[in-house]
Every structure is written in structure tokens, then in C-alpha cells.
């Protein structure tokens, strides 16, 4: 799966893209957050939203068949 990072997460992670293999027991977006968050604690912040294949999630969403998970910190446009 491809993981992408935006805003301040680019600096917190030190990359804007990571390609990785997800363990079989990780089945939803929140489990993914917890798993990758062990390596990158910035992703554990509940204000960081997750989009699966360009669809924003609200709570755990299945990751089966998903190619990309994007991690979006609080925004600051305008």
C-alpha cells in the first residue's frame, strides 16, 4: 500500500510517500493508523484524517483492495 502525507506531516514523517506491505491482521483505517503510528507517532493524533483512495473516512473503514491511504492534518487555507 502507498501511504501519503501532507502539510506538517511531510516534515514529521520526513517523506511525502512511503510504500509498504501491510500485515494481514490490519483490516481497517484506524488499525492502520495505530500500526504505522508506532513508527510515526504524529499519525496517532485523532485530528489527522485518513482518506482511502481519495475518499475521506470518518472512523474505521475497510482497507481491503485500497491502493493508497492519505494522512491529512488540520487544514489552513484561505
Amino acid at each position: 500500500m502507498r501511504l501519503t502525507f501532507f502539510g506538517r506531516l511531510r516534515d514529521a514523517i520526513g517523506a511525502d510517500v512511503i510504500d509498504c506491505s501491510i500485515p494481514a491482521n490490519i483490516v481497517d483505517s484506524e488499525a492502520l493508523r495505530t500500526w504505522i503510528g508506532q513508527e510515526y507517532p504524529a499519525l496517532l493524533d485523532p485530528n489527522v484524517r485518513i482518506a482511502l483512495d481519495d475518499v475521506l473516512t470518518a472512523g474505521p473503514a475497510p482497507i481491503a483492495g485500497v491502493a493508497e491511504a492519505a494522512f491529512l492534518p488540520p487544514v489552513s487555507g484561505g
Partner: protein, 148 residues
């Protein structure tokens, strides 16, 4: 018409095009946001999501058009590097009467600050720092929930 621009935007030209297209509207209101050069800010860089940012701006514009019964609305937001003094956002609304046009532009700006995936990074002599929406921005956004 709403879009993201990686290139500098010209608010005067945008308003000219918008005004010609909004022929028949009784009121046209526009807003231009400009990068401030205070606190030693040398450059702003706007990060965006390749799909969700434009989609979110479209949703904000669509809601405003319906809610304020607009004849037309345009939202143009810069992405990439923007220098102090340069426009960062342009919003224009056309309606039968002025109140709807003023409210629509105000509403769109409040939502751009809190609901659209855009992230500002400031560069100054001290280094770089990421900006997040302030509590006032969320308060401004919430005003429209109470009015709805």
C-alpha cells in the same frame, strides 16, 4: 468556476471576466486575500491534495451557490509558493441583491480556512513553520451553522 492555480493570479482580470459573465446580476462582491509580509515572512508554500482539495472547493462553492441563491460564484486558490504581497485567494459572488453576495463570499472564506485540504508553510529568517486554522477561524465557521 472554481480551481487551484499553481501560477500567480490576477484578481483584476478574474473580476473582469466574472463581471462580464454575470451579466444581469444586481450585485457582485469580490474578495482578494493577499499574503502578509509581517513577522519577517519571506515566502508561503501551500500544500494540497491532488484530488480532495479541488473536490472540497467545489463542494464549498456548490453549497454557497444553493444557500445564497447565487447567479454565479468563482473561487480561485493559489497552491505552491506565494510571496508576500501576492494574492493567495480570490472569491467573487453574483446575486440579485447585495446581502446574498456579501454573505456568500464571507461564508466561502470561512469554509476555505477550516474545511478545505490546504496547508500553509511559512518561511522566515528563523526557518519554516506550518500554520493551522486558529480557534477564531473555527468560531467564524460555526457562525454559519447557527444561521442555517
Amino acid at each position: 468556476m472554481s480551481f487551484l492555480s499553481p501560477d500567480p493570479i490576477d484578481p483584476v482580470a478574474l473580476l473582469d471576466v466574472f463581471t462580464r459573465a454575470a451579466d444581469g446580476a444586481g450585485a457582485i462582491v469580490s474578495f482578494t486575500g493577499v499574503v502578509r509580509g509581517e513577522d519577517g515572512v519571506e515566502l508561503l508554500w501551500l500544500d494540497h491534495h491532488p484530488h480532495l482539495t479541488e473536490q472540497a472547493i467545489g463542494e464549498v462553492a456548490g453549497e454557497a451557490k444553493r444557500r445564497f441563491a447565487l447567479d454565479a460564484l468563482t473561487v480561485v486558490h493559489r497552491i505552491g509558493s506565494v510571496a508576500p504581497g501576492e494574492p493567495i485567494v480570490f472569491v467573487a459572488a453574483a446575486a440579485r441583491h447585495r446581502r446574498a453576495a456579501f454573505d456568500a463570499v464571507d461564508h466561502v472564506m470561512d469554509r476555505l480556512k477550516t474545511d478545505v485540504p490546504l496547508w500553509k508553510r511559512e518561511t522566515s529568517a528563523d526557518g519554516t513553520s506550518w500554520i493551522e486554522a486558529r480557534p477564531e477561524d473555527h468560531h467564524d465557521r460555526a457562525r454559519w451553522e447557527r444561521k442555517a
